[in-house]
């Protein structure tokens, strides 16, 4: 089966990312499933950048392991990545830049990319397009799809630029034709015939927000969340909405709360440092019972940390950040496709329960691209906040006690609906009650009372992979879903009794489903891309169970093998027996 990993590496700002993106789009249009992985330097120019794309005919769950084709624009890229290239894989390098030492296991194709671009095309900057032409010929990736894509991509810059790029592609291809083919990597056309979109997690999230009815976005630029703002800044006005870039993240969440109060669906997206600034206002949204969606595309912290690297380190902050008894819903997005539906659910939960919903994504998910089926928003029916009836507007009480703890919410403009959205503890009518001790307890109970219904929804949004009642369980959250799923499959293939539970709502937790899953296991592993095991810690509060933590804290996502190894280790430790595999026919 076709399943190849390409990695492009070079100096930041010299076209590494655009090479990767063009390769990705071409492979997707040629009918492959794709899954990209980006790491890039914190500098705008300079520093090492690389872009990886995996292409397959099967559903892809992870970025892959060994590299089949490494494209190295400079020696640094070669030195950083050469050891990841599998035996029998290929190295395509700029022969004008460096000469790698001979290596019998990897097939080398030295291409004078810089001089081809300079002498044959006349534009040095086109060396990355030359490289794409080389890849097209060497590995049988549709030349026509590349051509069409370049025409589209550069159309706005004029015909001359289009022609230069097409020439660069041909120059690369013509040079490659003269190279004797020494590897066995051939892609051809992929097997997928249906149309799919190529989206990053952040783009998918932006589309989902639009589908959910979000019409106001406020935010402050921060890596790796900024592209959500830029995406919506372009798209929202087309449907009557608007993006305001505020002076800081405090202001961003302030605008969101003001807009939500006035009756619009609004959101903000940020990363750890910005989210830290927002926590006071999140408490305000809780006590004033305002719907709000706040996205945290996590990066490595604390403080400025590693802005372009990934981590699942903000869970404690999302769950507990802020003072007082402060119930909010915390969700995590699991895949590029889930970014679309997940953010729709986040808006629904915010509207239904009139509380802030914190949505955790991360750099790994937000910035990788994948092929996804064209989203169908009708699968997540929209929920709107409960509005007061005419009857309820007579003697209106904004925070009236109700059996489900949700009070009808008016909006400015409604006759009789006037009230003060109050950050002070308040009565049912919304008057300050800063000295009424019993009232504070009743209102706190009201706000936490909503959690019963949220927990039921959390139980519905749990996904299972592998065995339903395994001896070795894996509990995951967020962007590790695909990697865990692939690891579980690897372990099952080797006869282990293993299964995974992946939860989308992290607070309140889906206790019923977790209990059912944990009962009967001999060991449960909780893999997290953080140092202390934040979700494991939350679960220990609810379960007297000796969870096994698997933590990775280097700014990079798990590979399936890392999780597989832990499954194997745990299985050996608790003497979980491997099933005899049926002999392969």
């Amino acid at each position: 089966m076709t399943d190849y990993v390409f990695r492009v590496g070079g100096e930041g700002g010299e076209g590494v990312i655009s090479t990767g993106e063009l390769l990705t789009l071409t492979l997707a249009r040629a009918g492959f499933e794709i899954y990209t992985f980006r790491t890039y330097p914190a500098e705008i120019k300079g520093g090492h950048a690389n872009y990886q794309v995996r292409a397959s005919n099967a559903l892809l769950l992870s970025q892959g392991a060994a590299v089949d084709v490494l494209v190295a624009f400079n020696e640094e890229a070669y030195q950083k990545h050469a050891q990841d290239v599998r035996s029998g894989g290929a190295l395509v390098y700029d022969a004008d830049s460096f000469t790698p030492p001979a290596n019998g296991a990897v097939i080398h194709y030295g291409i004078p990319m810089t001089s081809l671009a300079t002498e044959k095309v006349g534009v040095k900057l086109t060396k990355n397009i030359v490289a794409l032409g080389v890849l097209s010929r060497l590995f049988d990736i549709s030349f026509e799809v590349f051509e069409d894509l370049l025409k589209e991509r550069f159309a706005r810059k004029g015909e001359a630029i289009v022609q230069k790029n097409l020439l660069a592609l041909r120059v690369g291809a013509d040079y490659a034709v003269q190279q004797p083919k020494r590897d066995d990597i051939r892609l051809g056309r992929g097997s997928r015939k249906t149309k799919e979109l190529v989206l990053s997690g952040n783009e998918s999230l932006g589309l989902g927000a639009i589908a959910a009815g979000c019409r106001i976005y406020a935010g402050y630029p921060i890596t790796p969340a900024t592209d959500i703002m830029e995406f919506l800044a372009k798209e929202l006005p087309k449907i009557g909405g608007y993006v305001v870039q505020t002076e800081d993240e405090i202001s961003a969440v302030g605008v969101v709360l003001g807009a939500s109060y006035a009756g619009k669906k609004a959101m903000t997206a940020t990363s750890g440092p910005g989210y830290s600034l927002m926590t006071e206002m999140i408490g305000l949204a809780v006590v004033a019972e305002l719907p709000a969606v706040i996205v945290d595309v996590q990066r490595v912290g604390p403080s400025t940390g590693m802005p372009t690297k990934t981590e699942q380190g903000d869970l404690y902050l999302a769950v507990y950040g802020g003072h007082g008894n402060c119930p909010r819903i915390v969700m995590a997005l699991t895949s590029v496709e889930d970014c679309f539906y997940g953010i729709m659910r986040a808006f629904n939960l915010a509207e239904q329960f009139q509380m802030p919903v914190i949505v955790l994504s991360d750099q790994y998910l937000g910035h990788r691209k994948a092929t996804v089926p064209v989203p169908d928003p009708s699968t997540v029916p929209l929920v709107e906040r409960r509005k007061p009836t005419t009857e309820e507007l007579r003697g209106y009480q904004r925070y009236r006690f109700t059996p489900d703890h949700i009070s009808p919410m008016s909006a400015p403009g409604m006759e009789g609906g006037g009230y003060v959205a109050e950050g002070l503890e308040h009565t049912e009518i919304g008057y300050p009650a800063a000295s009424d001790h019993e009232n504070h307890l009743r209102l706190t109970q009201k706000r936490y009372g909503k959690f019963h219904a949220v927990e039921s929804i959390a139980n519905e949004l749990v996904r299972f992979y592998g065995e339903a009642h395994p001896e070795i369980g894996v509990i995951g959250w967020g962007s590790t879903e695909g990697v865990i799923r692939e690891a579980v499959q690897m372990a099952q293939d080797q006869g282990y009794s293993v299964g995974a539970l992946h939860t989308k709502i992290l607070y309140p937790q889906p206790l019923a489903k977790l209990t059912e899953f944990i009962n009967g296991t001999k060991a449960v592993i909780i893999p997290e891309v953080n140092f202390t095991g934040q979700f494991a810690t939350l679960l220990r509060k609810r379960f007297a169970y000796d969870f096994i933590q698997l933590n990775k804290c280097v700014g990079l996502p798990f590979t399936p093998k890392e999780i597989f190894d832990k499954i194997e280790e745990a299985a050996n430790h608790v003497h979980s027996r491997r099933r005899d595999l049926a002999p392969k026919l």
């Binding site: 449907i239 605008v255 109060y261 006071e280 006037g418 003060v420 300050p432």
Partner: protein, 284 residues
């Protein structure tokens, strides 16, 4: 923006929530001037949103029969911007104090001024933190002695009017709670202004920094022939701190934030059909 069809009396904006302010507090004067302006402008309570921060001034929304938002310390302007952006047809008033507005919330002021959203920002300036018992504030004079400055304040006070004129606010005025009729006229002008209207109100704290006695000698009238569109002249007058001038210092008409937003939406919709499927098509 809609107004009520029937006549509304100032007292009809009163709620049955009793102000927590000390008897004699300047904020009572501000509130009654505000009631008068609202009645004079026939503002329909259902279309009015009063946004506040924290401090004595922060309680104001509870005393006005309308929609209100008592937010957190220093964040009046972002919340008010969100309300106005969500529904430009609403009348929006932000109220705060000198601590709320110029200390903890000071970072929002230049941005509110340059965005020019169509709402009024009323600062009840008493040059002290009344609710936490009288510490020095950003507008307290040098030498001000209080709990946190037992040896006297060594920091220069800021000049709210000069600051707002410098930041490009399109309406800058000053009132005094001891002159409620003039104050009401000023608030009315501010609410009629298209764009961001800043009104600094000297509103003495009767308990911790009672300036009522020294105010009459300090008060001055702006020159009769003052051209409110002359920014340099307005700035000069704002810098004359030996006198406390009352009235409109500066007023110009510039495009408002919501006008800009409406224009962008109009042009975006003209060039592209508003359908999710069309947006999907950009990613295949």
């Amino acid at each position: 923006m809609s107004t009520a069809d029937v006549e509304i009396l100032p007292q009809s904006y009163k709620t049955d929530e009793h102000p927590i302010w000390c008897p004699g507090c300047g904020d009572f004067g501000v509130l009654s001037s505000l009631y008068n302006s609202l009645a004079g402008l026939k503002i329909n309570p259902k279309d009015l949103v009063v946004v506040s921060g924290i401090g004595c001034s922060g309680r104001t929304p509870g005393f006005i029969k309308s929609y209100g938002f008592h937010s957190v310390h220093g964040r009046v302007l972002p919340v008010a911007l969100g309300v106005k952006l969500a529904n430009p047809s609403l009348h929006v008033i932000g109220v705060g104090g000198d601590g709320d507005g110029f200390a903890i919330g000071g970072g929002h002021i230049p941005h509110a001024a340059r965005r020019n959203p169509g709402f009024t920002y009323l600062v009840m300036d008493n040059s002290t933190y009344g609710l936490t018992k009288g510490q020095y504030s950003p507008t307290s004079p040098v030498g001000f002695q209080a709990g946190s400055t037992p040896y006297g304040n060594i920091e220069q006070p800021i000049n709210p009017l000069a600051m707002l004129i410098a930041y490009g606010a399109t309406f800058v005025g000053q009132g005094y709670s001891g002159k409620p009729r003039e104050l009401s006229d000023l608030i009315t002008k501010a609410m009629e202004h298209k764009g961001f209207a800043f009104v600094n109100v000297i509103s003495p704290c009767i308990t911790f920094y009672n300036t009522y006695k020294m105010m009459p000698a300090r008060l001055g009238e702006l020159p009769k022939d003052h051209d409110v569109t002359n920014r340099v002249k307005a700035f000069e007058l704002a810098l004359q701190t030996d006198k406390t001038y009352l009235g409109v210092f500066y007023q110009v008409r510039q495009p408002t934030f919501e006008e800009g937003v409406a224009n962008i939406i109009k042009s975006a919709q003209a060039s592209s059909p508003p359908r999710l499927e069309e947006i999907f098509a950009e990613f295949d």
